[in-house]
């Protein structure tokens, strides 16, 4: 049985505002530091005092070009700034400096669900530079709205997607990919809760197979990935139910209420702002030359997809291992460094996705705070490879001890703690003989075909050697002895 919801297809376009991590504001020398006392990073320029003029922070252009290069967009040569005019209490000049007709990037795309059957390209319409407004706080004082202008003038890029997203899952994946990317290229911390990444969604529905989009509603105020997904799901359902009950969708701006899980109307089309965009006369156009673009491109760190390809095709890692590693930029870079120090890539991946990640999770640490360096992990891997320590001893003893003593090498610690494996045949042979001598009747049973008993003798050997016996060699010796 098909439900009404199956008759429709959602059309979603996203506008993502990413706050750029420049040290100073887009058009003033004020600091952009987050979380400082309200209204302290405010020069006369930020305050919009009479007689002040904007001055472009060139880092903003560089960051936008980084992003444009990373999504394979066209970079605009002649960049004009524009004014977007509207009145609001946290907008001191009465206009926002932005780009209108000449966004710094056009085109480009994001791949969602990469390397899976659901892989899909979402095209980007444009990316433009703009300045943020200040912050209005309505809940700090019972009678007044308080304004903090520290954020006013902080640079943003707005990334506008084509309406090619078809579900909340795709939207989620698209935003997650963008967030990963901006973190990789170091232009934005991607923190949605703190508002450094903000998403507006344009949502409409149309009968499946239709070529004409329905009327869209724009939904704002979704401050987490999860809420974007909830808001879109609610909105799709709301619109379908509205149409099915004979109503029509209004073009309007809606807000998401995370507590109730619903969207509600903020303003209708009639109430929509007329922003009266016009070229910003206080700023000269910025010309982005080809060699500048090339320079920025060359300075980009490896991107997630490039690393994925490298890890799977050059290193032979599984799709699964590679996908997990590239999820976090710093882990990927840690791994990327690690594989320069060892050739055992599979072991390297296992260590990162295993012991290292467990340690980080247990201690709620990010890899940038991890006490060990790639060289430490490489040393452990080498010790195991050379049969100098068993895998289990390395995991259970050496790794935690090394974390406590990162100034030492793995081998030094193993030596000090007497964990180095004894591959010396004579010593080992002695343990083997001792183990066999301990259970004469089991020897008989083994000889009569109960081959599983080898585990008992091995356990005894490991016990006697205090875990240092090379298990492979011990196994071989036990077998030889028993079958004599």
């Amino acid at each position: 049985m098909s439900s009404i919801y199956d008759k429709y297809e959602a059309v979603i376009g996203l506008e993502i505002h990413a706050q750029l991590q420049t040290k100073s504001k887009a058009f003033a020398a004020d600091s952009t530091e987050f979380g400082v006392t309200p209204n302290t990073n405010v020069s006369p320029i930020t305050l919009g005092h009479p007689g002040t003029l904007p001055r472009l922070n060139e880092k903003v252009v560089e960051y936008a070009v980084r992003l444009g290069s990373a999504v394979k967009a066209n970079i605009t040569y002649e960049n004009q700034f524009a004014r977007k005019n509207y009145f609001y209490a946290d907008l001191p000049k009465g206009y926002q400096i932005t780009q209108d007709k000449t966004p710094i990037c056009t085109g480009g795309y994001i791949t969602i669900f990469p390397h899976t059957d659901n892989e899909k390209k979402i095209n980007i319409t444009r990316i433009h530079i703009e300045e943020d407004a200040g912050k209005s706080m309505h809940d700090q004082d019972p009678f007044n709205t308080l304004i903090d202008l520290n954020r006013a003038g902080v640079p943003l890029v707005e990334i506008v997607s084509e309406p090619e997203i078809r579900s909340s899952e795709e939207a989620y994946a698209y935003i997650a990919e963008i967030r990963k990317l901006v973190r990789y290229i170091g232009i934005c911390d991607g923190n949605m809760e703190e508002g450094s990444l903000r998403v507006d969604a344009n949502i409409s529905v149309m009968p499946k197979g239709s070529k004409t989009f329905g009327t869209r509603a724009e939904v704002k105020n979704m401050n987490s990935l999860r809420n974007v997904q909830r808001a879109i799901d609610f909105e799709i359902k709301r619109q379908i139910e509205l149409i099915e009950s004979g109503g029509t969708v209004e073009q309007e701006t809606r807000s998401f209420d995370a507590v109730k899980g619903i969207t509600f109307s903020l303003r209708s089309k009639e109430m929509a702002h007329d922003y009266r965009y016009f070229p910003e006369p206080d700023l000269q156009p910025v010309f982005v030359e080809q060699d500048y673009i090339a320079k920025v491109k060359n300075s980009l760190p490896p991107l997630p997809n490039e690393l994925y390809t490298k890890f799977t095709q050059e290193l032979g890692l599984s799709d699964y291992d590679a996908s997990i590693i590239i999820e976090d930029k710093d882990i990927a870079l840690f791994f990327n460094e690690l594989i320069e120090l060892t050739n055992n890539f599979k072991a390297a991946a296992n260590w990162i996705n295993g012991a290292v990640k467990s340690f980080l999770n247990e201690n709620a640490l990010h890899i940038t705070d991890f006490p060990l360096q790639p060289k430490h992990i490489a040393q452990i891997i080498t010790l195991i490879e050379e049969n100098k320590i068993s895998n289990s001893l390395a995991n259970q003893k050496l790794f935690p001890t090394l974390i406590e003593n990162p100034e030492k090498t793995a081998e030094e610690l193993a030596q000090e703690n007497n964990w180095l494996q004894e591959s010396d045949d004579d010593a080992l042979l002695q343990y083997v003989e001792e183990a066999i001598a301990k259970y004469p009747e089991k020897v008989e049973e083994y000889k009569n075909g109960k081959k599983g008993l080898i585990g008992l003798f091995m356990g005894e050997v490991m016990k006697l050697s205090k875990g240092k016996a090379d298990p492979k060699l011990a196994n071989k010796l036990v077998r030889e002895k028993l079958e004599q």
């Binding site: 005092h49 009479p50 005019n85 009145f87 206009y95 009266r276 016009f278 700023l283």
Partner: protein
């Protein structure tokens, strides 16, 4: 007091010790006091000027004074001076104090000029008569029944009334040159981008320029030389090096190629005496060996509409910051955000400012943008190309500054269109960015002065000053 018309005379007398700087400042302050009825100054920085005079006098005596030592100068009330009030003659900024100084002011101070006060002007530099000031009209010192012109009416009157040697004004569509013409002083609108706009309260950003009002071309050249040049706080300010203007005005006279537009001279409404004076000037120039020819410039009817479409658009945005929230006047009757905006702006702005904000908002509105703003930009481009083309063939364009002499206070205030047409000969320089100077060469039979205007190529101030300095002026 002795009437000085240029700084070098003052500097000579200071050197010869026939006067001292504190004495000179006292004399100017006395003149300010005696001309109080003209409503020229909104604030006189008397104590400050006196102590500065002592300080600079000592520097003069020890031989380490700046280039402008001895210059007493007034600044228009839309130019910021750190820790001083700056109101743009508006109620909305009545008690506003600037936290910084305009680059032009910084540079004047660095060369030891003394800023004696801030002068009245049309509110936010919008007007041609100085009647649009919240603090009342300014009277023309030549005849107090008449307007001094605007919007830098206070600055022109200050120089004409000998209350200071020079003044800074700002010129968006003629706001320096027109009052200079009405008051009989020299007024320069420099090339757009020659002088930093940092610290100039914006009216129309792509038109505004600070410039000097003086009694001599020499002082205009000297002041411009001091305040011009690149500024990290204004990225529209040119990085072109500043020529040595004071040197170029003393170079031997060159023979120039000059043009004038027949359409301008034959413009209906141009005062016949001004026309005659201009034609006589042309004959004189020819007699001096310059080449003077007519050229076609068939766009005179477009300059004023284009100017008003574009400047009001920019103004509507530039003045959005005066909203009663962060600084300036807030209506005591406001009770929420919207009423704060509506009441503060309704009560804080005067009629002309409101008229231009509404016009500008209209021409930028969705549905009207293409018909007005976009078209205005196109026309501006054509005007610029044509003007540049003409100036590639000629060194200068000679034209009237104003269609008539000063009019009586109150005479035109209810006819904004007529008032806007006061700018007909001056807006071309702002629309195209070229420099233009008004020289007080004319004297009307009605007893009032009037100027002639010379425009030159972009950044050709040196040539402009050199040529202007050959005129006999009666400041």
């Amino acid at each position: 007091m002795k009437k000085y018309s240029k700084l070098t005379d003052i500097q000579n007398d200071l050197k010869n010790k026939t006067i001292t700087l504190p004495q000179l400042v006292e004399d100017y302050l006395k003149n300010i006091d005696q001309t109080k009825d003209f409503n020229i100054f909104l604030e006189v920085f008397d104590e400050e000027a006196k102590s500065k005079a002592q300080e600079i006098q000592q520097k003069i005596e020890s031989g380490n004074a700046g280039k402008l030592a001895g210059m007493v100068i007034a600044i228009k009330d839309n130019i910021c001076y750190k820790n001083h009030k700056v109101s743009a003659s508006s109620k909305i900024l009545e008690n506003f104090e600037s936290l910084f100084s305009a680059t032009a002011v910084e540079r004047l101070l660095k060369e030891d000029a003394i800023i004696i006060g801030r002068t009245n002007c049309d509110e936010f530099a919008m007007g041609s008569s100085n009647e649009n000031s919240y603090f009342g009209a300014v009277k023309n010192p030549v005849n107090p029944e008449y307007v001094p012109g605007g919007s830098s009416g206070g600055s022109a009157a200050a120089v004409a009334a000998n209350t200071c040697l020079a003044a800074l004004g700002s010129d968006t569509g003629g706001s320096i040159r027109q009052p200079a013409s009405f008051c009989g002083v020299v007024g320069l609108k420099p090339t757009y981008g020659r002088i930093s706009r940092h610290g100039l309260i914006a009216y129309a950003s792509s038109f505004d320029q600070i410039g000097p009002l003086t009694q001599s071309v020499e002082d205009a050249a000297l002041i411009t030389q001091v305040i011009a040049g690149m500024d990290e706080y204004d990225t529209t300010c040119s990085s072109k090096p500043v020529d040595n203007y004071t040197e170029s005005i003393n170079k031997p006279e060159k023979k120039y190629k000059i043009t004038y537009f027949k359409s301008y001279i034959e413009k209906e409404g141009l005062d016949p005496e001004i026309k005659e004076h201009l034609l006589n000037t042309i004959e004189n120039l020819k007699a001096q060996g310059h080449i003077v020819e007519t050229s076609d410039f068939p766009y005179l009817d477009y300059v004023v509409p284009t100017y008003y479409v574009l400047t009001t658009a920019e103004a509507s945005s530039n003045l959005a910051r005066y909203d009663g929230i962060h600084f300036g006047y807030r209506s005591p009757n406001a009770h929420d955000l919207e009423s704060t905006y509506v009441l503060s702006r309704s009560e804080g702005f005067g009629d002309e400012v409101k008229r231009r904000i509404m016009l500008g908002t209209y021409v930028l509105s969705a549905g009207y943008y293409d018909a007005y703003y976009a078209k205005g930009q196109k026309v501006r481009r054509i005007l610029k190309q044509e003007t540049e083309r003409i100036l590639s063939e000629y060194d200068f364009i000679l034209l009237p500054t104003t269609p008539g002499t000063a009019f009586k206070i109150g005479e035109q205030i209810d006819d904004p269109i007529k008032m806007y047409l006061e700018d007909i000969f001056t807006v071309q320089a702002n629309l195209t960015g070229v420099p233009a100077i008004s020289l007080p060469t004319g004297k009307h039979s009605n007893g009032l002065p009037f100027g002639i205007q010379i425009m030159s190529k972009h950044f050709a101030e040196n040539e402009l000053f050199a040529f202007a300095n050959t005129f006999n002026i009666n400041a």
